[in-house]
């Protein structure tokens, strides 16, 4: 009886909200839903093949393994380990990401045999030389942005919510992003990035979403195009694994040396 009441109340409330909501509230609501649906994967492993392309179309390839530990209430922790190019094999980056303050980062250089903490407020620089910046690649957290729902739109036959997101981090490289969120899986299909003077800088598209553990959707391929520099980056992911039992101890400075 009590459950029934709750359900009734909730649906009534939702019903009300749907009509009385401001675009900001609606945007936030969709963000919360996206975040909720992606919560609980605990940890994740993936292999990432990165193809960098310059304006002339010349390419170079990097191979990185990425381990991620879900952290509730803050940004996730991750370790990226380079496999290729050969000269940087074994180089590993540990980062504790935060939504509204600088990330903590440690880098292990095997040739130097040392772990160095890198203190920088900069999240908008290029991630491993790609067109992705650090802030593009880190996990989605609700408080990374403020939101404004714009409209519904169809993207390649899929219904999406179009939402404007404004970074909360002071030193962000963007004034805003526009995100097309798939209404079915609550994952982004397309993101447009606007630079500090509010000009279109980059477009990111997500392709070939797969569902893991009946819940978590991951795109096999991401394409980022920089409209100003005409450069682009393709990320190909494979061998996704979830809930492998990683803990905080696998994401500390000591683990970085053993990461290879």
């Amino acid at each position: 009886m009590k459950t029934l009441l709750t359900i009734t109340l909730t649906s009534l409330l939702t019903f009300n909200i749907a009509f009385a909501q401001t675009p900001e509230e609606r945007g936030l609501e969709i963000a919360i839903e996206s975040d909720k649906r992606d919560t609980g994967f605990a940890d994740q492993l993936a292999e990432m093949l990165m193809t960098l392309r310059n304006a002339a179309g010349k390419e170079s390839i990097r191979k990185v393994r990425v381990k991620t530990l879900e952290v509730s209430g803050d940004g996730d922790k991750s370790i990226s380990i380079f496999d290729q190019p050969r000269d940087v094999k074994g180089t590993a980056l540990l980062s504790y990401t935060h939504s509204t303050k600088p990330d903590d980062q440690w880098l292990f250089l095997p040739a130097l045999k040392r772990v160095k903490r890198i203190a920088s407020r900069n999240k908008s620089g290029p991630f491993m030389g790609s067109e992705f910046s650090f802030e593009d690649i880190t996990s989605f957290e609700v408080d990374k942005y403020t939101y404004k729902y714009l409209r519904d739109e169809e993207v390649e036959g899929k219904a999406t919510f179009v939402i404007e997101q404004f970074p909360t981090y002071q030193a962000s490289g963007y004034t805003r992003r526009i995100v097309w969120v798939d209404q079915e899986i609550y994952q982004p299909l397309k993101v447009e990035f606007f630079d500090r003077k509010n000009s279109l800088l980059k477009t990111l598209t997500f392709h070939d979403y797969q569902q893991y553990l009946d819940q978590y959707w991951r795109a096999d391929r991401q394409e980022m195009v920089n409209h100003q520099s005409k450069k682009s980056t393709t990320l190909l992911f494979n061998n996704y694994q979830f809930k492998t039992g990683l803990t905080d101890r696998d994401f500390d400075q000591n683990s970085l040396k053993r990461a290879r």
């Binding site: 010349k58 170079s60 940087v88 130097l112 903490r117 920088s120 620089g125 003077k197 520099s229």
Partner: protein, 780 residues
């Protein structure tokens, strides 16, 4: 030809209304074409699509990032950039410059990514100036210390003495609407300068950079057109009023000029020629040449009217006498200008084509429209005997009397001037393309004298293997090359990855100075590079310095402003050094706009040599056929070639430097100065053939009939080209001056050298002619 000439005048008068209406219709059509004219704001237009230096530069820009920029130079009046106020201004300007349209990166001492070690394990990367509002004296001292020791900053964004500092903005134009993008950037930047100069009255701000230079090209083209064209119209109005003292003639000539300019520019617009610095002089040149054509018609007309002919008869006669020489003169002038199509620099091709179209138009307007309209207007004869006729008669006698002396003395002067030609040195300093009255030039000179330089050479230092730049052997070679450049007296700044690698090595060893050296193993270098790559701020990526497969890095060298020869010499020195010291890594040339401009003069002279020779051959063939005499045709080569030689001799004495635009002057003036020869020879031959006159009499006849007109047209041409000396572009002002000199020389050489030479060459022929003819006035 003869039949055409005889009936032409009658035909024109018969069909005058049709001619006038057709002319107006055509001019209207041409006028609509001027809508298509666009001003170009890009220094790259000076280089043809297959210019090897441009291709090398394009390749460099494709491999690394494209580097158009805006540079603000801040000069505090107290001569110290390291004060709280100035640092605050630098910080604010850095922040606000991100708002400049199409900006992709802003660099200054304020946001310089300062990396330093704390203890053994921490590496800090932060902006050099973090919070200028609460800056303390000790912060300022630390900032000053770091900035003045940083090789990436000194003589680049901060002067070595710390008295001026720069904010450099990288601009990446989308190139969708080229005519508006650069002005947009410039306007925004200028507004920033104004705003900051108001807020910081103790700081002067100078604005330069490639984007601003590009804008200056377009802006000054427009300025030139709007100031110089009215000036030349005014000048010509005065000239015509004085010379012809006839309202109808002046008014009709003005229409001919206007129509010719509209034809040249409008048809050029239809054909898609852009307006660039050099082609802005086209309207003025068309104007000048169109007047010259009209003057010939008008002068004869006046002479005839004076001799008592009625208006129709005078017009018919003027056309009969002038049609062939004006046609030949226009044809040869067109050929001369069309020879500019051989120029390596497209703007000069455009200049040649615009002008050729306008000159062709002026021929038709002067021979069809002008007489047609004049026949409808009231004209009356002047009473007094033209002073010019008497003067010319005396002048002719003087020349005939002194022909031997003139031949040898003027010949000697000519030889001396030819000997002076080698005093000219090739030089294209592209900053100096702008006159000192142009703000861009003023600001750039300040920047070059106080902060950095605009002469930059880029090298893509190749390792020839992927990831090869981490090889210690490669990095040591790169370091040596960097050091070699730093030891050159002309150097301002070197930007090299070698410095970055050394700094990182030091940083990763707790800032121990002993480690300020190239890492000794390949993996370590590669890993530093990865670290560096990951620490780069927004808008910067490694691609500025490193190519995509990491087989090469870009080393950028900034030099003081110097002559093209010196620049090419120092580049050669660098190549020699590479061959001797780092033979493994030596197969690349320096590139960049300064190298491109340093080669353009030479390339243009080589390409124009072909164009000018072909024009000369073509013109000579035309003259041989027109005069039906190989001897006269070949003889005419002499007065056609000598003036340019004399002009360059005088230039060698006066200026001594020739650049891009002067390489096209010979071809261009050839077509103009040939006109003198054509008019003089056609009258000479008419006297010889129609009147059976001997050489002396023919010289007299040609001087009296065409001498005044030649004198007047030469004065008009000289003045017209002198108007160009007021141009904001050096390539226009120097071209105008040299052309004016050559045209003046042409008249001198024709009268004082060629006529005596002609008399000498035809001495033998005189025997065939009866002596009674000698003093009979020519009746043609």
């Amino acid at each position: 030809m003869k039949r055409i000439e005889d009936q032409f005048g009658a035909w024109v008068i018969q069909w005058r209304w049709l001619i006038i209406i057709a002319t107006l219709a055509f001019v209207t059509f041409a006028f609509l074409g001027t809508k298509n004219l666009v001003f170009t704001n890009d220094y790259r237009v000076f280089f043809g699509k297959d210019n090897p230096q441009l291709l090398a530069f394009d390749d460099m820009e494709q491999t690394y990032n494209k580097n158009d920029n805006v540079l603000f130079v801040l000069a505090p009046k107290d001569g110290n950039a390291f004060t709280a106020e100035t640092l605050q201004a630098v910080h604010e300007l850095t922040e606000q410059s991100w708002q400049i349209p199409y900006s992709t990166r802003v660099n200054s001492i304020s946001n310089f990514q300062y990396t330093y070690a704390v203890g053994d394990d921490d590496l800090i990367v932060e902006d050099l100036i973090l919070d200028p509002a609460s800056i303390t004296d000790s912060d300022i001292a630390r900032i000053r210390d770091v900035a003045l020791k940083e090789p990436n900053l000194v003589n680049n964004l901060i002067s070595a003495s710390g008295h001026v500092t720069g904010v450099n903005v990288t601009i990446s134009l989308p190139g969708i609407n080229e005519s508006t993008e650069t002005p947009e950037v410039t306007q925004f930047s200028r507004n920033l300068v104004n705003e900051f100069e108001q807020r910081y009255p103790n700081i002067e701000i100078y604005l330069t950079g490639m984007a601003i230079m590009n804008n200056a090209f377009g802006e000054n083209s427009l300025n030139d057109m709007t100031s110089l064209i009215p000036l030349s119209f005014l000048l010509m109005l005065i000239m015509l009023a004085i010379l012809t003292r006839a309202f109808a003639g002046t008014a009709v000539t003005f229409l001919v000029i206007g129509f010719s300019i509209i034809t040249g520019m409008g048809l050029g617009g239809y054909l898609g020629f852009p307006i660039t610095g050099p082609s802005t002089s086209a309207p003025i040149i068309i104007l000048t040449i169109a007047i010259a054509n009209s003057v010939h018609i008008l002068m004869t007309l006046r002479q005839r009217l004076h001799a008592g002919a009625d208006k129709k008869a005078a017009i018919t006669e003027s056309l009969r006498i002038n049609l062939q020489p004006i046609f030949l003169a226009s044809l040869t002038t067109c050929i001369g200008f069309l020879s500019l199509n051989f120029s390596d620099a497209p703007p000069f091709r455009d200049l040649g084509n615009f002008t050729a179209l306008g000159v062709a138009g002026s021929f038709f307007f002067a021979t069809l429209f002008m007489p047609a309209l004049l026949s409808l207007l009231p004209m009356r004869a002047r009473q007094s005997t033209p002073y010019s006729t008497r003067m010319m008669q005396n002048f002719a006698e003087w020349i005939i009397r002194n022909r031997q002396t003139l031949l040898y003395s003027v010949g000697a002067v000519i030889l001396v001037l030819i000997a002076l030609i080698p005093k000219n040195e090739l030089n294209d300093v592209f900053v100096e393309y702008f006159s000192e009255e142009v703000q861009f030039r003023v600001d750039t000179d300040f920047s070059v004298n106080n902060l950095n330089g605009i002469y930059r050479i880029d090298y893509s230092f190749e390792s020839s293997e992927p990831e090869g730049i981490s090889n210690p052997e490669y990095l040591i070679a790169l370091e040596k090359f960097t050091q070699w450049w730093r030891a050159q007296p002309e150097i301002r700044h070197v930007n090299s990855l070698a410095d970055t690698m050394k700094r990182l090595n030091k940083n990763m060893h707790s800032d121990n100075e002993d480690w300020y050296r190239i890492p000794d193993n390949r993996e370590l270098s590669a890993q530093y590079l990865l670290l560096y790559e990951m620490s780069l701020p927004y808008g910067l990526d490694l691609n500025n310095q490193v190519n995509i497969d990491k087989s090469a890095t870009r080393i950028s060298v900034t030099l003081e402003t110097m002559s093209s020869n010196d620049l090419l010499a120092i580049e050669q020195r660098a190549q020699n050094w590479l061959l001797e010291n780092t033979p493994t890594y030596s197969s690349f040339d320096g590139t960049g706009p300064s190298i491109m401009f340093a080669n353009i003069g030479k390339r243009n002279i080589e390409s124009m040599l072909i164009g000018t020779t072909l024009a000369l051959i073509g013109i000579s063939i035309i003259l041989i056929f027109a005069f039906r005499s190989p001897k006269i045709g070949l003889l005419s080569l002499i007065p056609n070639l000598i003036p340019a030689a004399m002009g360059f001799g005088i230039w060698g004495l006066m200026v001594g430097q020739i650049g891009l635009s002067l390489s096209v002057v010979t071809g261009m003036t050839l077509g103009i100065i040939v006109d003198d020869t054509v008019h003089l020879l056609s009258k000479y031959l008419r006297a010889r053939r129609e009147n059976n006159a001997d050489t002396f009499e023919a010289v007299r006849y040609s001087l009296v009939t065409v001498g005044p007109a030649l004198l007047i047209t030469s004065i008009i041409l000289v003045l017209g080209f002198l108007v160009l000396t007021f141009s904001n572009f050096y390539f226009n002002s120097s071209m105008g001056l040299l052309t004016a000199i050559i045209i003046a020389m042409a008249l001198i050489a024709d009268f004082l050298f060629f006529l005596p030479l002609l008399m000498k060459a035809e001495e033998n022929c005189n025997e065939n002619i009866t002596n009674d003819n000698t003093h009979q006035p020519a009746n043609v």
